[in-house]
């Protein structure tokens, strides 16, 4: 087992021994289920309306009425929930003075950063994986296209990875977990709102550049079923940038 794998194993163990994963997981899955139920309910109501107006069976598009809305709503859920998952990663080490031990072990800082990120990402993948149950169950009662659902999931995974890396950075900045959660919450909302700033400029170069910085349009395209390499590039480079900044922050604590 390499040092990175050792860190991943230890972090995973830490998540499952503490109540964090169970609480966050339960809330995440409950909200996902509740939102699905609501959107399916709305779709049903709409179908009845259509039937009354047109007579006969109306074609209901679950992709548009349920899944697109569902994935779009998950943005705010992820903004609120993921900082709770990441807040402990570095803050706890510093609070409990194990940070010094990690830093004096013969491993490189990027191995620590990558190990910690991968561990929380694995937890997140597990949670997202469980939600596939919702479309699977709906498949029994309805017909819909799986392709946009997979791109929606790809979007959720990429968006989650970006959020987790922002959370990791926030956690490296402080030794207080509450502060770490709040800082990442603030950062994520700010990046969200940058989309609004971009739309103020309209369809100018400045507007497009500013909008590009926000994850909103990139995520929306994936949810609509479009895979664009520029969006993949956005999430990939954002993730690398956040991990790099985390590395610098961790490194800089040595100089204080």
């Amino acid at each position: 087992m390499t040092p990175v794998q050792a860190i991943i194993a230890k972090e995973l163990r830490g998540y499952f021994v503490s109540p964090i994963v169970y609480v966050v997981g339960a809330v995440f899955l409950f909200i996902f289920g509740l939102l699905s139920y609501l959107y399916v309910g709305f779709a049903g109501a709409q179908a009845i309306q259509l039937m009354q107006m047109q007579g006969g069976m109306a074609q209901i598009n679950l992709n548009d009425l349920v899944f697109r809305n569902l994935f779009a709503s998950m943005r705010i859920v992820l903004v609120i929930i993921l900082p709770i998952l990441t807040m402990r990663l570095f803050a706890e080490e510093r609070k409990l003075r194990t940070f010094e031990f990690l830093m004096t072990s013969p491993i490189r800082i990027h191995e620590i950063v990558v190990g910690k990120f991968v561990s929380v990402f694995v937890i997140y993948l597990g949670l997202v994986g469980l939600t596939v149950l919702v479309p699977t169950v709906l498949m029994l009662f309805s017909d819909f296209d799986w392709n946009p659902i997979w791109t929606g999931y790809l979007g959720m995974v990429l968006l989650g990875a970006l959020f987790l890396s922002v959370g990791l950075l926030a956690s490296a900045l402080t030794e207080n977990q509450i502060v770490a959660a709040f800082v990442s919450f603030g950062l994520l909302l700010t990046i969200w709102l940058i989309a609004g700033l971009g739309s103020l400029f309209g369809d100018t170069t400045a507007g497009r550049v500013i909008s590009y910085v926000s994850y909103m349009e990139h995520y929306d395209r994936l949810v609509r079923g479009l895979i664009d390499t520029s969006d993949l590039l956005y999430f990939g480079s954002g993730l690398v940038l956040m991990l790099f900044l985390t590395h610098r922050v961790v490194e800089s604590t040595r100089w204080k």
């Binding site: 040092p3 794998q5 194993a9 230890k10 003075r97 990690l102 072990s105 013969p106 040595r254 204080k256």
Partner: protein, 328 residues
């Protein structure tokens, strides 16, 4: 094994350590003594590559702490001030994690695990969560972590804090047994510990090394006078004056208990028989008479309180400590 040359560490305008130079030979145990905030932990953190020095060089086993930190870290077992344990892991899991971080795997890891658990007598708590263990056990788990990979250099920041007296003795024995094969630096507030365990003592104060020698030589070097403690049954008003009148007695300090005195005599003269003769002739009822050697505690206080005028330390402060010490 460890070579520290003129290292300085500044935090903004505050200088934590100032041109510290010392070295530790292979197999030697060195104690780092100093009051709180003297710079002990800072020095250790520089040696373990946790933080870089502002100036100067530190080398461990031939590797430079600034240029080859990974190599240096491989050579060192480090116990920080607070034992670096993860509460959510069991002792065995924690030590396995430490071993893997250090690149030990397979059968080598399990034998290293068994050895360090055996050495620190952690067998009974092997599968318990560290979060549920007492302070003393956690400290021992921290030590097991430092010893796990059998490093040539050990850096221990107050290794016996939080242990009960029996455990303290065991840990000291353990550290002594490491001498010869390992180079050890340990910091401590407990002065007898330095005397008991270490071959050499470095006293550091306000970021500067104020003395470096064996414990015995340190006290010999700093001894300004011979000291004799006496206790008398009856002490009339003139007894202090009569004691002062003895040739060779430099000073007389009344002790805390009535009838006890501390006499400072000229260096190299044993005045015990003369003092006894005077006491018997004056019928004071001599109850106790003995020489007081300067303890490391006295040396420490003398150096750290009055490091600026080493040649003329105020005797009273030192002597009073000696008097308290001998009565205890």
């Amino acid at each position: 094994m460890i070579d520290v040359h003129n290292i300085t560490k500044r935090y903004g305008h505050h200088t934590a350590i100032d041109r510290v130079t010392f070295s530790v030979a292979k197999g030697e145990v060195l104690a780092f003594l100093g009051p709180n905030g003297a710079g002990k932990t800072t020095t250790m953190r520089i040696l373990t590559c946790f933080m870089p020095a502002t100036e100067g060089t530190a080398r461990v086993a031939g590797f430079d702490c600034a240029d080859q930190p990974l190599e240096v870290k491989r050579q060192i077992g480090y116990l920080p001030e607070t034992p670096p344990v993860y509460q959510e892991l069991t002792v065995a899991e924690y030590l396995t994690f430490v071993g893997r971080l250090r690149g030990i795997t397979g059968p080598k890891l399990s034998s290293a695990l068994d050895q360090s658990i055996g050495r620190l007598e952690l067998g009974s708590v092997r599968h318990r969560l560290i979060g549920n263990l007492s302070r003393g056990y956690r400290q021992r788990v921290g030590l097991a972590q430092a010893l796990l990979h059998d490093p040539p250099v050990l850096i221990l920041d107050e290794p016996t804090v939080g242990l009960d007296p029996k455990q303290i003795i065991e840990i000291r024995e353990l550290i002594k047994s490491l001498a010869g094969s390992h180079s050890v630096i340990l910091s401590t507030h407990i002065l007898p510990e330095a005397t008991a365990v270490c071959q050499r003592v470095v006293i550091i104060n306000k970021g500067r090394i104020v003395a470096e020698d064996t414990p015995e030589q340190l006290s010999a070097r700093l001894r300004q006078s011979e000291k004799v403690s006496i206790t008398l049954k009856a002490c009339p008003a003139d007894c202090e004056m009569k004691l002062r009148a003895i040739a060779g007695v430099l000073n007389v300090f009344p002790g805390q208990a009535g009838g006890s005195f501390l006499l400072e005599c000229e260096l190299g003269r044993d005045l015990r028989d003369e003092i006894a003769r005077v006491a018997v002739l004056s019928q004071w009822g001599l109850l106790e008479l003995r020489t007081v050697s300067m303890t490391l505690e006295d040396v420490f206080l003398q150096l750290t309180r009055h490091e600026d005028h080493l040649s003329e330390p105020p005797e009273a402060a030192v002597s009073m400590v000696s008097a308290e010490k001998t009565e205890a």
